[in-house]
């Protein structure tokens, strides 16, 4: 690549000299494993390090909605319930002893004894109720506010706004009427309508308890050292652009206590750099390696390479407000004309699974091959499109947001539509996320548009209701296709209030069937994330939320 000059060679030698000196100093990150892998209890006091991207928000559960900050928050906090590794069902290994209801609408939550925050104060019913009220109140501008919108009295905590989004009246209350503290270990939640799977939602970040220290002065505490109740505790605030060091919380009351002495989360702007760093042995874990590295990572890391299914669901939504996509046969035909596997192989090294349902395989109720119109069948697609009066002389406009790596696969979709349906396409990928989203909210898309969903809690409802129910149309929710079908809404309602979990899932599947016939969107891919780690650590597990179970990681002795 580059002609070595005497100067650069001299530099290399000089650097090598400095290295020899500094190696004697040792490193403080505990990243110097001796190469032993697997087996054994590991070294319970050693620490390890992991890649994260820059968290977008302060490390406050009510304000953390993205995965980077979420990874840290999850290590620092433990919620009411946790999810099983096998089938993402509810496990009462968190703070809740039980979550019960007779009518699926009024829930009683009982807490276990003995849970404390990192500052030694006990976790009580108020720790939850006060935290939830704080997050819900619109004046506090917390991103996870809407997770409480199904609790009685939520609306009174929202400032009134006009059509332009200007506040016309402040909130009329600071506490939701549906939340009531019974005693230190018990509180009740009254929902606005029955929701059988409510306990399943409560493992999400938004529902974590907050310490009294935080609630007394939330603004100052947001950027100070976070105080949680989880397996790890922080000793200093997050350092901007650098990361945060956590140590094991010795008084942790849960079963999933940390198996290492601590974890150091290091912020990288570029995941390629992190991947280089883990190869160089200076970093222990990268949980989502760059797509270009997938092919070689298996050879380089061997059994220290792991593929984990994630809840991420990518789709191309139809702008149903556009007359061109009104005919259901047009929507079905376009979906059938796309060879998802070929696109995955060519562009993602096969690392994405072709979607065959509107819900991810990680949730209970997913059915393999449920989507009939997701099966690649170019002849049938062309024949079906010919039945309609779709104008094939007009190109299809394909929308995606700029700078997020969507160019290649959306273009591949366009090529397949052109080859299989004989209709040309144009790419509309010049808008940033900050322009793209408002355009979708304002019904501005003129063709299929890229969108995605990562689940908040492992329920079919989280996909179906959030993305396709009438009540979730913007600005209230994320139904950016503006799909509205009374049958679908009614089935969801019925499912939400079903007497048992199994019956709920069955009804969700019926609702799913309505979607699979109506095809308001083209299901494209389910994601799989690839992780690699150094010889220094073992027992790596990445959950469907793409979060590493940091407490379970052991450092090899």
């Amino acid at each position: 690549m580059r002609v070595p000059t005497r100067t650069t060679r001299a530099m290399a030698i000089a650097m090598a000299g400095v290295f020899a000196l500094s190696a004697c100093g040792g490193s403080d990150d505990g990243g110097s494993g001796d190469g032993a892998t697997g087996g054994g209890a590991g070294n319970p006091d050693a620490t390890w390090s992991m890649y994260i991207g820059q968290p977008e928000n302060p490390l406050v559960p009510g304000n953390t909605s993205e995965t980077e900050g979420g990874q840290v928050v999850d290590s620092l906090w433990t919620g009411l319930v946790q999810y099983s590794r096998e089938d993402t069902s509810v496990e009462y290994t968190g703070v809740a002893e039980s979550i019960e209801s007779d009518d699926q609408q009024n829930w009683t939550i009982t807490l276990k004894d003995g849970w404390t925050f990192h500052d030694g104060t006990p976790v009580t019913a108020s720790s939850f109720v006060d935290a939830w009220n704080y997050t819900a109140l619109s004046d506090n501008a917390q991103q996870n506010s809407y997770f409480f919108s199904n609790i009685e009295g939520y609306d009174a905590l929202q400032a009134e706004t006009d059509d332009e989004g200007n506040v016309v009246a402040p909130p009329t209350a600071t506490e939701m009427s549906g939340l009531e503290v019974v005693d230190d270990q018990t509180f009740t939640v009254a929902l606005t309508s029955p929701f059988t799977q409510y306990p399943l939602t409560l493992g999400y970040t938004a529902f974590y308890p907050m310490s009294q220290a935080f609630l007394d002065d939330p603004e100052a505490m947001a950027t100070d050292t976070p105080i949680g109740n989880g397996p790890f505790m922080a000793e200093a605030p997050l350092s901007d652009g650098q990361g945060i060091d956590l140590v094991r919380f010795d008084d942790y009351a849960g079963e999933d206590a940390a198996q290492s002495g601590g974890v150091s989360y290091r912020i990288y702007t570029d995941v390629n750099t992190a991947y280089n760093d883990v190869q160089g042995g200076n970093l222990d874990l990268v949980d989502s390696i760059p797509p270009d590295a997938i092919a070689s990572a298996q050879d380089v890391f061997g059994d220290r390479y792991l593929e984990s299914p994630s809840s991420s669901f990518q789709y191309l939504g139809y702008p149903l407000y556009d007359p061109r996509f009104q005919d259901v046969r047009v929507r079905q035909a376009m979906s059938m004309a796309i060879d998802r596997q070929a696109i995955s192989d060519a562009i993602f090294q096969g690392s994405r699974t072709p979607a065959d349902d509107f819900v991810s395989p990680v949730v209970n109720g997913y059915r393999e091959g449920a989507c009939e119109y997701c099966q690649y069948d170019p002849e049938a697609a062309k024949a079906l499109l010919a039945e309609t009066d779709f104008d094939t002389s007009q190109p299809i406009e394909l929308w995606f947001n700029n700078g997020a790596g969507h160019d290649a696969w959306v273009q591949a979709v366009g090529n397949q539509l052109r080859d299989n349906l004989g209709v040309d396409y144009t790419l509309r990928g010049d808008l940033d996320f900050s322009q793209y989203l408002p355009l979708g909210d304002d019904q501005g898309f003129t063709g299929p548009f890229r969108s995605g969903w990562v689940m908040d809690y492992p329920s079919m409802q989280n996909y179906l209701e959030s993305l396709f129910s009438t009540g979730a149309q913007p600005p209230a929710g994320s139904n950016n296709t503006f799909y509205s079908n009374p049958d679908f809404d009614a089935l969801l309602q019925e499912a939400n209030s079903a007497p048992t979990d199994d019956e709920a899932v069955e009804l969700y599947q019926q609702a799913d069937d309505v979607l699979l016939e109506d095809m308001p969107a083209i299901p494209m891919f389910f994601s799989v994330v690839q992780s690699v780690w150094s010889e220094n650590i073992s027992d790596v597990y990445v959950d469907p939320f793409t979060r590493v179970d940091a407490a379970a990681v052991t450092v090899n002795s």
Binding site: R2, S138, G165
Partner: protein, 307 residues
């Protein structure tokens, strides 16, 4: 001299006000809705959006927003980014990092650049001269991104002689990034020095000095070099300013949490307070180092006087 420096420093005030307003206006003019982007695919209730907009004055017209910003600034409040972190804290954490990186780069630039330039200039047409010519051409033409990743892979991952990324190993962590950051400027410094020195060596006063019997070493070091360094000093002075803010690529490749990265990320998120705060600071440094350069002229060339 003192009055000259004072006058120049006073002049920076209007420049800073103008610059900060221009940058503020540019961030304001960016299309898109930063609050909507903050929520991503998730819904954000209208009332919550309104609260966020009010917090960052995003609803106000440009002049009102700027007025509120300056008012805060006068009281020592640089504002906060969207995660509630004070901008002043961001700056105070990142400035030392950027300053160290720039310092290391400038040292490389001066030592390697000037040394290569002087040696090439003294032996024009020699093998070494041609070698410098080829190497500097290569350095200037290879994108920093490529240079950064390749050298990171070779020296960091393969050979393991330098840390791959991060700043956890102190000054040692800055060696490779500093060298990469200096690469292009280093090439310019070498060429500038060579040409300038070669010109001076042909000057009459050099011949006179030699004719008087001064040895070559004294002529080069005392007379020629001092004269020929004036354009080089100008270049390096201006370069300090641009290295401080322009290290975005190097900072990203080597994961160095400096100011360049902060600006880059904040522009993407349209966090006006961070962008304006940091860039105004960089403008100040730029002006300051240019002043230092101007003062240095007088030291290098006694004929230059400032009143």
């Amino acid at each position: 001299m003192g009055r000259y420096v004072a006058r120049r420093l006073l002049l920076t005030i209007p420049v800073l006000i103008g610059a900060s307003f221009l940058i503020f206006a540019m961030v304001y003019a960016l299309p898109g809705d930063p609050i909507r982007a903050l929520a991503g695919d998730r819904p954000l209730p209208a009332a919550v959006q309104a609260a966020l907009r009010a917090e960052y004055n995003l609803d106000d017209p440009l002049l009102v927003q700027y007025g509120k910003y300056v008012l805060g600034l006068v009281q020592g409040d640089f504002g906060t980014d969207f995660s509630g972190r004070p901008v002043l804290q961001t700056i105070s954490e990142r400035l030392p990092v950027t300053a160290t990186l720039t310092g290391v780069a400038i040292v490389f630039e001066i030592i390697i650049g000037i040394a290569a330039g002087v040696l090439a200039g003294l032996r024009r047409g020699s093998f070494f001269d041609n070698l410098v010519l080829v190497t500097t051409t290569l350095l200037v033409s290879i994108p920093v991104l490529v240079l950064g990743f390749v050298s990171q892979y070779v020296f960091g991952v393969r050979l393991g002689v330098v840390p791959v990324a991060g700043i956890s190993e102190g000054l040692y962590s800055y060696l490779l990034p500093g060298l990469i950051l200096a690469a292009i400027s280093l090439a310019y410094v070498a060429r500038l020095t060579r040409t300038s020195l070669a010109d001076s060596l042909r000057a009459d006063y050099v011949r006179t000095a030699r004719a008087k019997g001064l040895d070559r070493r004294t002529v080069v070091v005392r007379h020629t070099l001092r004269n020929s360094l004036i354009p080089v000093v100008t270049f390096i002075g201006a370069d300090i300013g641009s290295l401080l803010g322009g290290a975005i690529i190097t900072e990203s490749v080597f994961n160095i949490p400096g100011l360049g990265r902060a600006v880059f990320e904040s522009v993407q998120r349209q966090e006006g307070a961070v962008v304006v705060g940091v860039i105004t600071l960089l403008v100040f440094f730029f002006i300051f180092f240019n002043l230092v350069v101007d003062v240095l002229y007088a030291v290098l060339d006694p004929r230059i006087r400032y009143e």
